[in-house]
Amino acid sequence: MVKTRDSKRRKPVTHVQVPEEIIVEILSKLPVKVLLEFKRVSKSWFALISSLEFIKTHLNSSANNKEYYNHRVILKDMKGKLKDCSLRSLLYNPITKASEIDYPMKEFDIMWFGTANGLICLAYMEKPYDYEYGFPKKTWPSSGKNICIWNPSIRKWKKLPRFSAMRMSCLFCRYGFGYDELHDDYKGKLYWSSSLSDNAYNIDSFDLANETWNKVEQPDYGEGKFNLMLGVLGSDLVILCNYETHSDVWAMNDYGVETFWKKMFTINCPPDHRNYNFNKHSPVSFFPFFCQSYSGKVLQLYRSIFKIYNPDDDSIRQAKLTNRKYCLEAEIFVESLVNPLSIAYQGHDNNED
């Protein structure tokens, strides 16, 4: 065979050392489970995938991915059992199947506070524990509850110190688990609301770093009877005011010293809203349990039915989810490698009580 110039093939570039920046670029686009496997490739891959810098790069890449490949929705059914499904599938596919997930507090009753950076902050306590429409029938005793931060994607969790002053007794409180942008840490703050009377709510925050309590200033809501909930929209804490015919969504602009609120939009009640009544005797008949926005769309959960609200054309469509009985609580989280065991905690640690 005659050797032509062409057949003398140049050595492929991959024989040359691939620059680390290119490896980082490629790996940051992979799902968490694959990355855990690829730690086995070599010493340098193990070091890279374990590094805090890469964990952050990967988190940013996942969180900013407009296709939501690495976003999941975690659900809690009426018995308190957890399942999850892909957010992308829920938004774009006609039918989505929820899958069982493995978690360490299976033997406990769980109440979650919120998510940030792929971490879910939750409280758990001994069973038995009665639910009614997914909410505890009786209030949780102040003793016997534990708070932890859990990353379902890497299945690691960390118990947090107990908060003696934590008032978790109100039936309708919604907790927020914030991310402290300023200090680039997720210890952040816990936010929750408590009902004083009709139309009067308190919102409190508890700083996990220095264990201080603060009252959160609230916006001027205007007239009308409403039901208040807290949630997270993008990276902002939001207040959801549920009126009989619509819901207002207020976003907190600053986690700093001064608090600014901005009304983001109003969601009108769907015509068939009475089917989703949480409580027939309640004056508030429109009750979206859950609300979060990506690319302007708002995913809502009304008594076990997921709805996708599009503020652009004011339309609402239903998303079908199979393999779950009822679910009354849901959260969106992004898959991340953030290890809860490496969270800095500066406060007083009384884990052992």
Binding site: I26, K29, V41, D102
Partner: protein, 159 residues
């Protein structure tokens, strides 16, 4: 027009509007260093032809959204990354060197998609990586998250 020269001494003329998608060349032009031929010692002509094809197609990216050509561009991108693994890597190295952000994103996503279902052994071979972990170290990594190593059959092929 801007003239580019590959490492196998082939010259290519490219419209300035297309070539400035490369941050590196854009800076050279702004600094007045692109008056004659720009030599690219790291890029062969085969790879450079691919890169220029991409640059010419993406010349008016901003306009595509207005004129409804987004789908067309998406289709082009899908076709564009339909190449062999080593060819793809050559384009990634070129895009990294020339600093063409969108091309880098596109090709790295394609590389990630190809690696996603591969076995650890296949990944090592595809990226020419020698395993320097001891058996004990590997076992330790598995023990840390055994569930991540279970699941459906993985792809052991290297293309």
């Amino acid at each position: 027009m801007v003239k580019l020269k590959s490492n196998d001494d082939k010259e290519f003329e490219v419209e300035e509007a297309a070539v400035i998608q490369s941050e590196m060349i854009k800076n050279m032009i702004e600094d007045g260093c692109a008056t004659s031929v720009i030599p690219l010692p790291n890029i062969d002509s085969k790879t450079l032809i691919k890169v220029i094809e991409y640059l010419n197609k993406h010349i008016n990216m901003g306009k595509a959204a207005e004129t409804g050509e987004e789908d067309d561009l998406k289709e082009f991108d899908e076709q564009f990354v339909n190449m062999g693994w080593e060819e793809l890597f050559d384009v990634i190295m070129a895009a990294n060197y020339l600093n063409i952000h969108e091309l880098m994103e596109l090709c790295c996503q394609s590389a990630a998609d190809r690696l996603k279902n591969k076995s650890v052994r296949a990944v090592r071979e595809m990226l020419k990586i020698t395993n320097d972990l001891t058996e004990e170290e590997e076992q330790e990594i598995i023990n840390d998250a055994p569930w991540a190593f279970e699941g459906p059959e993985i792809d052991d092929t290297v293309n």
